[in-house]
C-alpha cells in the first residue's frame, strides 16, 4: 500500500450552540451569521463570538461555529483550560456526558452550561470513498507523523468516516505549535 498523506487543519477554541442557548446569549430568534465555510461541508464560522468565564480566568471573543446543534459544546485547548481553571477530558466531539460546565456570556445574557466542555480528541475526517481507498475504518485509532525541525508523531488519532466529510486532520493550536505546523502541512499515517 502506498503512503497515506493527510493535510492538517488547526482548530482554535470554539463552541457549538443549541437553539435555546443561542437565544439566551444573543436574543430570541437570533440567526447565526456565517462568515467562512470550514473544511467540512455544511460547517461554517460565524460572526458571533462569546466570552468564556471560568473559575480562574476569562477568554473573550471565542468563535461560534454553525449550524446549531442539539446540545451546546465548548472545545478548548489544554492551554485554555489552565487559563480558565477548568479540567475537561479529551473526548470525541458530541461525547459530552459527565464533562465540566462553564459560564458563557453573550450580548443578550449569560448561561451556565451544565456540561459540554471538552478538549477535542485529534481526529481525521475522511470521506467514505477515501476510507475505502486507504483501508481505514470509522472509529479506528491511527498514528500520524509530521517531519521537520520539530518532528512530532501523534498517536490515538480518531478516524471519522462520513460521506459528507473531506480529508482533513484536525488538531489544536497546542499540537500545531508543538510540532511547528501551519494549516495545510502534510502528515503521513504510520503503522507502529
Amino acid at each position: 500500500m502506498s503512503e497515506i498523506k493527510v493535510p492538517v487543519g488547526i482548530s482554535n477554541r470554539h463552541l457549538h450552540l443549541s437553539i435555546s442557548d443561542l437565544a439566551a446569549l444573543f436574543g430570541k430568534d437570533h440567526q447565526l451569521k456565517p462568515t467562512k465555510d470550514l473544511s467540512q461541508p455544511g460547517q461554517f464560522a460565524c460572526e458571533e463570538t462569546v466570552t468564556l468565564i471560568g473559575a480562574k480566568g476569562v477568554i473573550p471573543k471565542v468563535r461560534i461555529l454553525g449550524p446549531v446543534r442539539s446540545a451546546s459544546q465548548v472545545e478548548i485547548s489544554k492551554t485554555d483550560s489552565f487559563v480558565l481553571g477548568i479540567n475537561p477530558p479529551v473526548r470525541d466531539s458530541g461525547s459530552i456526558s459527565g464533562t465540566p460546565g462553564i459560564t458563557i456570556e453573550g450580548p443578550a445574557g449569560r448561561i451556565e452550561l451544565k456540561e459540554g466542555v471538552i478538549i477535542a480528541q485529534r481526529h481525521l475526517h475522511l470521506h467514505s470513498d477515501e476510507a475505502a481507498q486507504f483501508g481505514l475504518k470509522d472509529q479506528e485509532l491511527i498514528t500520524v507523523k509530521f517531519e521537520g525541525a520539530r518532528e512530532t508523531t501523534f498517536g490515538r488519532v480518531l478516524v471519522r468516516v462520513n460521506p459528507n466529510y473531506k480529508l482533513d486532520l484536525h488538531v489544536y493550536t497546542d499540537e500545531a505549535n508543538a510540532a511547528g505546523l501551519a494549516n495545510g502541512d502534510v502528515g503521513i499515517v504510520v503503522k507502529l
Copy 2:
C-alpha cells in the same frame, strides 16, 4: 538493552540576562534574587520578572532564570511567538546568531535586544555517567514517546551531556499541553 525512561520537565517562557542587560533593566549592581532551584544543578528561578514587548503584543511577568550569562537569551513558546508577533527559530540554547531581537522592559528601564529570541529545541539533559550507561552521545538526536490519551512521540530531541547535568527532558508548555503531560511524567526513548 533495557528501556530508557526519562522524566519530563516543562519549561515556560523565560529569559537569561547578561550583567549589562540586568543592570539596564533593574539598576546598577542589581543582584538576582533566587527563589527556586531548577532541575539542573546551579540553575535557579529568580524573583525578578520583565515584560516582553513585541510588534503585535506584550507578555508581562516573564521570569528571569539565573545565574547571569555572557549573552541575554529569551526563550518563548510558539504560542507566545504569535502573541508577540515575532518569528524565532527553533535553536539549541546559546545558539542565538541571526535570531530576532525584542524589546524588554524592567523596573529600571527598557532595552532593545538585538538578537537572542529562540524557541528552545526539545532536549534531554543527562549526566555523563547516565549517557554512558544508556549509550547516548552528546548532540545526538533521539525520539521520545509518551503514552496516554494524547499519545505523542517527539522526534529530534537533542541530547546534552554534562557532568553537571541531571536526567531531565525539557519541553515547552505547547508540547506538554499537546501530549497532556505534567512535570515528572515519564517518556521512553524509542529507536525508529
